[in-house]
Amino acid sequence: MRTSTTARVGQYAALLAYLVFLAFPFLWLISTAFKPPRELGSLHPTWIPENPTLDNFRQAFDEQPLLHAALNSLLAALGAAVIAVVIATPMAYVMARRRGRLARAATGWVVVSQAFPFVLLIIPLFLVLKNLGLINSVPGLVMVYVVWSLPFALWMLAGYVRAVPAELEEAAAVDGAGRLRTLVSVTAPLLAPGIVATALFAFITAWNEFFFALVLLKTPEKQTLPVILTHFIGAEGVADLGPLAAAAFLATLPSLVIFALIQRRITGGMLAGAVKS
């Protein structure tokens, strides 16, 4: 299709505007993270730090238990991702391959769960976990994260299952393989990339999560990165800009890297889940 020159110019101008809008806050975050205090206090801030420094990073680690928080985040996210995928994969298989009432109910729950206001969920969860002695504990948080990431995991995985042609499984059945054998040696290998993508997505979601962590984790040594980050913002909303920017930049790196690697698979999974349901 031919497009006129004026239209092309317009398109590039619009694209440029989008690029600026998307990029500038992030560039500003990076710029702030490397600025010495004197430049941060300046009334005329610049895009490029005049005297770039790593002091903000050092100060961030001094002020708050960042390493410890990162470890907590890692444990919570890893635990949630692994458990969620292990228990979701069989159910997603049933959702994808059957049209029974169970599959329909599961799909319905996945959709409805997207609409929960979490406050209605967190109050009873808080009471239950408190009675179990799991408040202020990473395992307690993992339990919540598993259930919280299940709907999307089921949705993505069911999509990946549907992408595996049922004919392959039938062929194996004709060749005399039992159901379990078929699942393990035919379906599972084809699902593996989708399972990894789903696990990574669950990992990022848990790594980024804030609300449940804020409510359930009480002491700094148990808190995850997003919660610790808010400690850089004082009670009156006064923030120590440099260390705040440095810590925020560090907290976002893992998810950015993982996301960049699996972005295509996630969107693929989302769509596979959405197209045929």
Partner: protein, 315 residues
């Protein structure tokens, strides 16, 4: 339960499903249980418990036993002007974020669907808001909005427009300021969903329309939009709900201030529950939010059904 009933009736086979080929399958229960039990115990159960709590005077750290108080919480809520103000703010925020976000995302998706240079860069950048923890997005925009050291005010100063405004603390500017952040943060998901919808539209239809002499706007109205409509409706409904329920972004940006101008319902309920310990009352707020969301979903589903019957024709 459903599966048991169905396996008793092996004769009822849906054509083209596995069941028809493998016969009644009792193994499916085993596959479902590992996920079903946590869902029931940690999601459905607490949800029902939460609804029950709304009818009690449950409070944190109280020694007397919790009492059933009927609809008293809801009656109090009815007269709680602060809650309804936050409910109104929640609606303004949800619509204020969702609508511009949709329009911007549609524009970007249409651009990314063209054969443009730098398209890859836009795709790469669109990952950033999506992958970032909401808390970091909030922190980042606080740096942008900062009165003295923020880039927004510096740019305005350079342009000779104003001399340092405290965007997040201004009574009039706080809500618009957080809405801009909401739009920025959620745009990528919407863009990706719409882009996928666009790529599912057959190219030949566009070309046929172009050959017939249809202009860009006409092609959009007659070819692109009808194909995009279902996905656009679904993503808009979800965005409205997600935004209405959002918490972290605004908690970090303004914590509901100034003077409650950005106090979303979730922030209100969080404070009520975990600062003042009013579990029953906060649960009642949650119930009201669920009711509001259900109405919204019903309206949307009805619209979707109508659109479907009309064959995707715009109403």
């Amino acid at each position: 339960m459903a599966l048991v009933t169905e396996s008793r009736k092996p004769a009822r086979r849906a054509p083209g499903t596995e069941r028809g080929r493998h016969g009644p399958d009792h193994g499916a229960w085993f596959l479902v249980l590992p996920a079903l039990i946590p869902i029931l115990v940690l999601s459905v159960g607490p949800l029902l418990y939460g609804i029950l709590l709304a009818f009690t005077d449950a409070q944190s750290g109280r020694t007397e036993p919790t009492r059933w108080i009927g609809t008293l919480n809801f009656q109090d809520l009815l007269h709680d002007t602060l809650f309804w103000e936050s409910f109104r703010i929640g609606l303004v925020w949800a619509v204020g974020v969702t609508v511009p976000q949709f329009l911007l995302a549609l524009g970007l998706a249409l651009l990314l669907n063209q054969n443009l240079r730098l398209r890859w860069l836009a795709r790469a950048l669109a990952i950033i808001p999506w992958a970032m923890p909401e808390v970091v997005v909030g922190v980042m925009w606080r740096l942008v909005y900062n009165t003295d050291a923020g880039i927004l005010n510096e740019t305005l100063r350079d342009l000779g427009l104003g001399n340092g405004h405290d965007w997040l603390s201004g009574l009039g500017t706080a809500l618009p300021a957080v809405i801009v952040v909401g739009v920025w943060a959620g745009m990528p998901q919407t863009t990706v969903a719409l882009l996928a919808g666009l790529q599912n539209t057959p190219r030949e239809l566009h070309e046929a329309a172009a050959v017939d002499g249809a202009g860009a706007w006409r092609r959009f109205r007659t070819v692109t939009w009808p194909a995009l409509r279902p996905i656009a409706l679904a993503i808009t409904a979800l965005n409205l709900i997600w935004n209405f329920n959002s918490f972290a972004l605004v908690y970090v940006l303004t914590n509901g201030g100034p003077g409650g101008r950005t106090r979303l319902p979730m922030l209100f309920a969080y404070e009520e529950a975990f600062r003042y310990g009013q579990f029953g009352y906060a649960a009642a707020m949650g119930c009201v939010m669920v009711a509001a969301i259900s109405v919204l979903l019903a309206v949307f589903l009805a619209g979707r059904l109508k659109g479907g019957l009309k064959g995707g024709d715009e109403a």
